[in-house]
Amino acid sequence: EAGVVQSPRYKIIEKKQPVAFWCNPISGHNTLYWYLQNLGQGPELLIRYENEEAVDDSQLPKDRFSAERLKGVDSTLKIQPAELGDSAVYLCASSLGTSNEQFFGPGTRLTVL
């Protein structure tokens, strides 16, 4: 069974440019999460989806970040415009319901110059 897939694995952009990350969760997992991991820290939740509905986006900086999960499967996280402080690893995770084990993708390492 395939795990959580993310692309790209690495992205280098200049500040003020837009960037997008893509995630394909484990087949059948209705709950999808985007986490942010800064260097030397554990991941922190940005947004959680139940099917296509964003049910917890309180930690998402909505002035520059947006996310969507149009058909309740794949998800895209976008930053526009990117700032230097956005350099981090963006992790996608999925689970079968919110009460169950979460599985993480390999992450996208973003560097903003």
Binding site: L91, E101, R109
Partner: protein, 109 residues
């Protein structure tokens, strides 16, 4: 959210040694998980252990939910065990995993 404290923050072992990593939570949690983050950044699931004890090869974990802590045991460590070990728990009132800062393990030949 809850506070998750992991100890020790750093650990250096010689190959073959045993170790115990600890995770304390400031409040009750569900869905307690242990992860190994390899040098490429991938978070690998080790244990899903809300309570009790589980074993998988050289690794085992014990969670005492009533006392809000969990332990990860690594026996006969190998160089491939190097990396950062995270514990994370979902608070009763939320759905996100709250992570600790991790234990950075280096196993030398």
């Amino acid at each position: 959210g809850i506070q998750v404290e992991q100890s020790p923050p750093d650990l250096i072992l010689q190959e073959g040694a045993n170790s115990t990593l600890r995770c304390n939570f400031s409040d009750s949690v569900n869905n307690l998980q242990w992860f190994h983050q390899n040098p490429w950044g991938q978070l690998i699931n080790l244990f899903y252990i809300p309570s009790g004890t589980k074993q998988n090869g050289r690794l085992s974990a014990t969670t005492v939910a009533t006392e809000r802590y969990s332990l990860l045991y690594i026996s006969s460590s190998q160089t491939t065990d190097s990396g950062v070990y995270f514990c994370a728990g979902r608070p009763n009132s939320g759905y996100a995993l709250n992570f600790g800062k991790g234990t950075s393990l280096l196993v030398t030949p």
